[in-house]
Every structure is written in structure tokens, then in C-alpha cells.
């Protein structure tokens, strides 16, 4: 297995929306490299004719009717109770678009 690079760690941190300091980067690089090396041992196992397992229940496609059950739903107040950043019954979020600066 190839060695993990600083760039790899920076890349996964950005994919996972985590901001990490330079000091953390050094630490995680070493630790993750060690772990990735260890789990590379799976290459020894012959899985040529083995199907992957993603879950163990043996169940598939469990459906239920798409019905609104008010007594089982959260009220607006309850749904918004976890934040103070609300506006007219909505969650308030940071703007995701920026204004053009060249106008």
C-alpha cells in the first residue's frame, strides 16, 4: 500500500468539512498512515468469488405507507427548539452565494 501524504489528509479533511491545524495535520498523517497500512492486510485474503455483505438482516425493501401522522410528528416549535437562529418559522443559515464584486 502506498504511503499517505499530507495532501491526502488535507483532501479528506476538506471532503469531510473539517478544519484542521498544521499541528493536527502532522499528528493525523502519522496515525492514519499507520492505520491504513494495518488494514491493508486484507489484500492477503482471496475474495475472488465472494459476494460483499453490506448488512446482516437478510431483509430488503421494507416499505410503509407515506401517511402524515400528526401525533407522531414534531410541532414547528419542537423542530426549531435546537437553535436560536430562526426566522419566521425557518432555520437561518449562512449565505451560500456571494454577491458579484465586478458589477
Amino acid at each position: 500500500m502506498s504511503k499517505l501524504t499530507k495532501k491526502d489528509v488535507e483532501h479528506v479533511a476538506s471532503l469531510a468539512k473539517l478544519s484542521i491545524s498544521d499541528k493536527e495535520l502532522e499528528k493525523y498523517l502519522k496515525q492514519l498512515d499507520e492505520i491504513v497500512n494495518y488494514i491493508g492486510e486484507l489484500n492477503e485474503v482471496d475474495t475472488e468469488s465472494t459476494e460483499p455483505t453490506s448488512q446482516t438482516t437478510g431483509l430488503e425493501n421494507i416499505f410503509r405507507p407515506d401517511e402524515l401522522k400528526p401525533q407522531q410528528s414534531l410541532s414547528d416549535e419542537e423542530a426549531l427548539a435546537g437553535t436560536e437562529e430562526t426566522h419566521n418559522g425557518y432555520f437561518k443559515v449562512e449565505a451560500v452565494l456571494t454577491e458579484r464584486t465586478d458589477k
Binding site: A16, K17, L32, I39, L42, L59
Partner: protein, 466 residues
């Protein structure tokens, strides 16, 4: 007062009016106030709710007498929940600063069911943040200590729940087991821990760690009590799509236990090994046939687990953005960040086949090992952890070493099978020892029968650390 140590004793005392529910609750809360500073088993104590529930129990007993126990099978039983279980109106943190002030608007199915069965909630217990850990040291609110000897870890990740039973802060407790997080702390704290079959106890309202592995379990002091809790919590709830109502299987009249040679690994502590052999002898004397079985892919279980689990963790923790509730992603602790990044890596473009797909295939091999073994035996007897409890700080700086502490428990999660951890005594230095019984899917009844047989044969008397 001397607190009762089992459900039977508790309910007998209430029936015979030896004590009131309110008195039991007061005693537990006083013990927590007196001793928990040094153990840190609880993150939140729900004193007001506990006294309210106790008053309700006492009123019920006053009004309907012994009939109350028919309607409420766990009447008067105090319970503590790992802080991963949503409890309506009571703060739920997952042991993480991300959720340090999160108060849920609804309760988990298990919490609802135990409440309806007459349980009294005393508080929420400390755990490795997001259930990531084998020692309790990854909690963002400080580590839990082992009540038997506080310089040792209580195991993890359901650290506070196991410690709360060992320290006699509650009669029963609940936790989650994704890679051993009920069985291993039960083992380290000298209590009984049940990890049910995947898909038998609802995960609804329990903060997800790795969704194909998470199972919801229980801590008690006897196998009989674990069975009584499981009777209430198991079965479909209409919210968790993985659930089935297990059908009672005919048990073989003569039970056979397998000893997996691959679990007697290099580095297995001598006293742990001896305790397993002693347990084996107890079963043999009771007429159970013991045979050797082989689970050849055991050595790969840790690698499979540390691919599948972080992959699912990275996905489940993706939802914590600090917008609807909780703090933003800067509040994640070191271990959560490590697992999110590891999971993101094994799922990322170019690595998916090499790691994630490969791990899912080797997972199939591990499942086939168990299927073959269970054609021959009804249950497997094995150590839970390669060593007795280790010291706080001993593995804290080396994540890989800490991951290897899970080596004897993770295969059970990958296969989705049930496991029951049972205490079997103490080391020369006074630290708890024990073993686990593993069975095929939906074989909880067999595991309970074997566990009860063991506790009866050894005349097991529950002990508390404090």
C-alpha cells in the same frame, strides 16, 4: 438502606413494603452525589423526573397492590442510559461537545418502552464521544474511571453505564454495542452485558454510529435480569426498518459449546485465559459438551471493522452542521475527526474498491466462519478482551493499539450475532474477569439459558465495587 441488587429483590421489597420506590431513588441519588465525583459515570442526573416517576410507582402500588407488577413488569426498576439515547426534555450529548446543550424533543423507542414497563430514569451516562472508543477516555467530558480501581479504565464506549452498575448507582443500564461497547465495559466492570442480534432491539432515537453494526444492549447484575429487560425492549416498533420479531426457536435438548482456537491469540493475558478454561469446566460439569471450533478469518476482523465502521461513521456524522441543533463541526474531538477522515478516505474515489468493497467481501468470509461453526455448536465461549482492564492513559496516545483492544468483540458485530458477557471473578490484583457467549442470530434464549446455568452452577452472588 441496603439497596437490592436484582429486579426480583427490588420488586419483592416493594411488594412486602420493605421500602418505597421514592426511598430507593433517594438512596441511588445520594450514592451518585457521594461517589460519582471520583468515577464520572454520569453526565446528567434527572433527579426531578426520577422522584416524579418514583411517586407514580408508589401511588400505583398503593392503589392496585401486586396487580401493578402484571401491568408494569419492570415496576420500580431504576435505569441509566448511555448519553446516546434520546430522552425527551433531558439533555443528550453523545459524550461530545457538539451536542453539549442539545435537548431532544422525543425519546428513543427503548426509553419509551422501559418507561411504559415501569422503569425510573435516574440519569444519562458518560461514554466515549459518539461511542468511539474502548476505554471511556474519548469522552469530551472527561474519562469515566473503573469503580473497582479508579486508576484503571472501565472499558468503552458504554463506560458510564457499566460503571454505574458496578458502583451501584442504578439497578440496570442501557448502552450500545457497535464493536464491543456493551460486552467489553461489562467485562471490565464485572457486570452482565447483553449485545442482542442486529435488528432485534430498535435503534430509533439512538444517535447512530455505524448503522450496519449498531445494536442496542443492556447492563444488569444477573443474566436473569438481562433477559427480563430484553423481553421488554425487543421487537418491531414501526420506526426501525431493520427490525424483526424473533420467533422462539426450539432449543436443542443437549447443548454444545465451541471454543474458537483463533480467540486464544498471542498476547492473551494468562489470568484471562485461565478464567475461560475455568468457565469451560463449569459448563462441562453441567453436562454441556465442549468442542474446539475454528473461525479462521478472525484475525482480519479488526481490519474489516476499521474500514466498515469509520466509513459509516463519516456518513452518519455528516449531518452535524450546527444549523438545526448543536455546535458546528469545529467542536468534534480528536477521535471523531480521526474516524471521519479515515472513513472519508476509504470511501473516496480511487480507494473504494481497495478498502471498502474488499472489507465487505471479507465480512462475508467472517460470517461464513460463524455459520459453519454454528452448524456444529449452539454457542461459542470466548474471552471478551485480551487483557483485564488497563490503566488510564496507557493506550490513549496510540489509536491503533486502542483499536486492537476490540479484537475479540468486533467479529460478532460484523456477523450481526448476539453476545452475552458474564463476569467470572477477579484477577489477583482485584480487577474483574469474565467471558462472552456468542450464538447464531436470534439465539438470545440459548445464551440466557447457558448464562443462567453458569450463574446457578457457580452460585453467583452479585457484588458492587463501592
Amino acid at each position: 438502606m441496603n439497596l437490592p441488587l436484582t429486579i426480583k429483590e427490588t420488586q419483592a421489597g416493594l411488594k412486602e413494603k420493605k421500602f418505597k420506590a421514592a426511598e430507593i431513588v433517594r438512596e441511588y441519588l445520594e450514592r451518585i452525589k457521594k461517589h460519582d465525583k471520583g468515577i464520572n459515570a454520569f453526565l446528567t442526573i434527572s433527579e426531578e423526573q426520577a422522584f416524579e416517576a418514583a411517586a407514580k410507582v408508589d401511588r400505583l402500588l398503593e392503589n392496585s397492590g401486586e396487580d401493578a407488577f402484571n401491568q408494569y413488569p419492570l415496576l420500580g426498576v431504576t435505569v441509566a442510559y448511555k448519553d446516546l439515547f434520546l430522552t425527551k426534555g433531558i439533555r443528550t450529548t453523545a459524550g461530545s461537545k457538539v451536542l453539549e446543550s442539545f435537548v431532544p424533543a422525543y425519546s428513543a423507542t427503548v426509553v419509551e418502552r422501559l418507561q411504559k414497563a415501569g422503569c425510573i430514569l435516574v440519569g444519562k451516562t458518560n461514554c466515549d464521544a459518539w461511542a468511539h472508543g474502548a476505554s471511556g477516555e474519548n469522552s469530551d467530558f472527561g474519562p469515566t474511571k473503573n469503580p473497582w480501581q479508579p486508576e484503571f479504565v472501565p472499558g468503552g464506549s458504554s463506560s458510564g453505564s457499566a460503571a454505574a452498575i458496578a458502583a451501584n448507582f442504578s439497578l440496570i443500564a442501557c448502552g450500545t454495542d457497535t464493536g464491543g461497547s456493551v460486552r467489553q465495559p461489562a467485562n471490565f466492570c464485572g457486570v452482565v452485558g447483553l449485545k442482542p442480534t442486529y435488528g432485534v432491539v430498535s435503534r430509533y432515537g439512538i444517535i447512530a454510529m455505524a448503522s450496519s453494526l449498531d445494536s442496542v444492549g443492556h447492563f444488569a447484575r444477573t443474566v436473569e435480569d438481562a433477559r427480563r429487560i430484553f423481553e421488554i425492549t425487543k421487537g418491531e416498533d414501526g420506526y426501525d426498518g431493520t427490525l424483526v420479531n424473533p420467533k422462539a426457536k426450539m432449543q436443542n435438548s443437549k447443548l454444545k459449546i465451541g471454543i474458537p482456537k483463533e480467540y486464544f491469540i498471542e498476547g492473551l493475558d494468562k489470568e484471562v485465559e485461565e478464567s475461560i478454561l475455568n468457565a469451560m469446566e463449569v459448563f462441562r460439569k453441567e453436562g454441556i459438551e465442549i468442542v474446539e471450533v475454528s473461525l479462521p478469518h478472525t484475525k482480519y476482523a479488526i481490519s474489516v471493522y476499521y474500514i466498515v465502521q469509520p466509513a459509516e461513521v463519516s456518513s452518519n456524522l455528516g449531518r452535524y452542521d450546527g444549523v438545526r441543533y448543536g455546535n458546528d463541526r469545529n467542536s468534534f474531538g480528536a477521535e471523531a475527526k480521526r474516524r471521519i477522515m479515515l472513513g472519508t478516505y476509504v470511501l473516496s474515489a480511487g480507494y473504494y474498491d481497495a478498502y471498502y468493497l474488499k472489507a465487505m467481501k471479507v465480512r462475508s468470509k467472517i460470517i461464513q466462519d460463524f455459520e459453519q461453526a454454528f452448524e456444529e455448536v449452539d454457542a461459542i465461549l470466548a474471552p471478551v478482551s485480551p487483557t483485564p482492564p488497563f490503566k488510564l492513559g496507557e493506550k490513549a496516545d496510540n489509536p491503533l493499539q486502542m483499536y486492537l483492544a476490540d479484537i475479540l468483540t468486533v467479529a460478532g458485530n460484523l456477523a450481526g450475532i448476539p453476545g452475552l458477557a458474564i463476569p467470572s471473578g477477579f484477577t489477583k490484583n482485584g480487577l474483574p474477569l469474565g467471558f462472552q457467549l456468542l450464538g447464531p442470530r436470534f439465539s438470545e434464549e440459548t445464551l440466557f439459558s447457558l448464562g443462567e446455568l453458569y450463574q446457578k452452577a457457580t452460585d453467583y452472588q452479585p457484588k458492587v465495587a463501592i
